[in-house]
Symmetry: C2
Subunit: 193 residues, 2 copies
Amino acid sequence: MDNREKILTSALDLFYARGYDAVGIQQIVDAAGLTKPTMYYYFGSKRGLLDALLGEQYEKLERCIDQAAVYNGDFPETLFLVAKAFFHFVSENRKVYSFMLALFYTGQENEGHKAVEPLISRYYRKITGLFEAAASKLGNMNGRQKQFALGFQGLLDMTFLRVRSQTPEHEAIVLDEMQIRGIVKQFMYGIYS
Amino acid sequence: MDNREKILTSALDLFYARGYDAVGIQQIVDAAGLTKPTMYYYFGSKRGLLDALLGEQYEKLERCIDQAAVYNGDFPETLFLVAKAFFHFVSENRKVYSFMLALFYTGQENEGHKAVEPLISRYYRKITGLFEAAASKLGNMNGRQKQFALGFQGLLDMTFLRVRSQTPEHEAIVLDEMQIRGIVKQFMYGIYS
DNA sequence: ATGCTAATATACCGGTAGGTATAATAGGAG
DNA sequence: CTCCTATTATACCTACCGGTATATTAGCAT
């Protein structure tokens, strides 16, 4: 692992545990066994570090979802595949996804919020696109695709947070296929009722 | 409004917009038109200010819910009354509830998280108690009361965040009874399916 | 008027924040 | 061997952080 990666890793650990604003550059480079100029050489600023961290991690999430999110006519199955891809990613990247959610929930004038906001919006557009692709077949969404997308992703986030809180920090987050199908089923019943 | 209140108000405004760690005491007292020693006279420390702010606001939320959350045999109706009380509170206190959620989602080693955690836990215990009171009549919960409570509250939070994001900062958040009934209905279908 | 207390301001503390000027080091290309 | 560039560290900057010692003000009871 080169020094750039060391800094990114230490930063994520600390941001996840204490939050972006509560962590100083000094603490990050200390944890990485380096010094401040090294961090500024690679990232230019604290915000630059955050952007790099979020950008690189978000790309991984997006690739995960893109591989799964192909509407093929069977909408519940598509949602299941998306949910499965999502949980696969967050299980192996619990820190980064938790951190992204935390940043997104902080005040809109917060620097961290401004950094994640475009990524989260982009992600939601992707999920919304799924519902729009299915709109012609489902028919009864009445322009509520965005609301459904938010509801669906909210259910996934909520489930992630619940399972995370019940899983010790050092253990892997586990959700089997049956549980994931259960979540999608619950969501679909909500839509059709 | 006395000076103590002025400080609490300014603090909430700033914490809500920028986050707890990103706001300094100096900014808070400047916004309130006062000076630092006044803040330290009333609250002793930044953490003391946060505790006072959260404590006083949480009490209002708890009173709101307590008035509504009395299980009377009709469980869906009980949930509806709780949801209605919840939305009534968050509509009139959008900043404080948003701020509480933000703090709760930040890292567990963050001071702000430590401050809200007991309040949120207490709140969840209250909601869980509702499901436990209904357990004898509903019967089929199989010890999943806590999970249902988290799911139900998560749905309320999610809805609040969605409606909030669609409501301009200066406008009141509005959810009519029909929409609230729809949310509860969606949740119940999930349980029974 | 006098003394007491609650409430507020001025001016300051040590520490650390984000950030940088400068120099040393190291590895490859010629 | 020598130069060049990429990388890293030492030492420092200013600004602001949370917090406080001290003085002042205002109101009130005597």
